[in-house]
Symmetry: C2
Subunit: 208 residues, 2 copies
């Protein structure tokens, strides 16, 4: 009915679960957008301020933290990363869905700050399969792989805080499930149904 | 994980909204089944007891009402129709989804008796369009058409009791939305998440 607001989706899951591929597929729909994060790390060749990231100083970043401007923020290798709340809200009001690819801790922070956010957890079919995928990447040492696996298990323990979960044993099925969730969410009956009913009532009043 | 139970879906909506087509499309998936209703009307040529309906006497029907054996029941043109609860439960336990094509009153009764039921409301794009579709059938008198329209509006007022709604302005889109809802529902994180977590924990305990 008329213009409706978008929804905020958080996609979390251990690294190696295909989360990135699922997000990329969702973003092929122009109704879905990533949010641009703020970071203190230096821009790499070709990166544009406001496109890949908002590149800011540590001082500016910490100011934003103090003002409560982030939906969630985290430290990775001494650099700060955060999701600016106002940017997300602007997109939602334009009717776009916003997709956040963040870890469980970030997801829970987002939910606390925006309870309407929809949280989706991507699971590996098994830890054995996850190990295989991580080793297959050939980019991580065995120690890092084991670290990631135990982090994975710790993350999975928070699944009860999420709205949906997708076991990715086949990437195509997993993608279509994620798409189905976004469609189903647009069909959810909202808390306030008066506008829906009113539309039909008015028609009848005018019609007869 | 492992064997999971099916879900009960109630599809309601004014006649002329394409509800029947949507149900028929959902039933093409072998995981989805109709439930066989009990009725007191006489079997028509070719109808088989236990396939189209369970044909019973008024006495037997009323006995079932008294015993609380129906999820919902209704009277149509002096005949009784009811959805036997035990049949629905048997199907759900076999892992099938059960699709009930019933009116709003029936839907609310089902929800009261089985709170896990998922209620989907099919809406016409407008009352004007609904009128056009009903007239297009050429089977109903103008009085019946107007009666159906005002019944439609009365039903729409209960939309707040439903979980999902689909505005059918294009039947293909409406069908794909219904299918998406069924897929998304299988991805919902259940109230009890221990079995999901346990699966990964056990693997780690065995693995290392």
């Amino acid at each position: 009915m008329s213009h409706s607001k978008g929804k905020l989706y958080v996609i979390s899951g251990p690294s190696g679960t295909g989360k990135g591929t699922i997000c990329a597929e969702l973003l092929k729909d122009i109704n879905n957008e990533f949010s641009v994060s703020m970071t203190t790390r230096a821009p790499r060749e070709g990166e544009v301020h406001g496109r890949e990231y908002y590149f800011v100083s540590r001082e500016e970043f910490l100011e934003n933290v103090e003002k409560g401007n982030f939906l969630e923020h985290a430290t990775v290798f001494d650099n700060f990363y955060g999701t600016p709340k106002d940017m997300v809200i602007k997109r939602l009001e334009r009717g776009r869905n916003v997709i956040l690819d963040i870890d469980v801790q970030g997801g829970l922070n987002v939910k606390a700050s925006m309870p309407d956010a929809v949280l989706i957890f991507i699971l590996p079919p098994s830890l054995a399969e996850l190990r295989k995928r991580l080793i297959g990447r050939n980019t991580e040492s065995p120690e890092i792989v084991e670290k990631r696996l135990s982090k994975a298990l710790n993350e999975i323990k928070f699944i009860g805080e999420y709205d949906y979960y997708i076991v990715n044993d086949d990437i195509e099925t997993a993608v279509s499930k994620a798409k189905a969730i976004l469609i189903a969410e647009t069909c959810e009956v909202p808390d306030k149904v008066r506008p829906i009913i009113r539309k039909y009532e008015q028609e009848q009043e005018k019609g007869e």
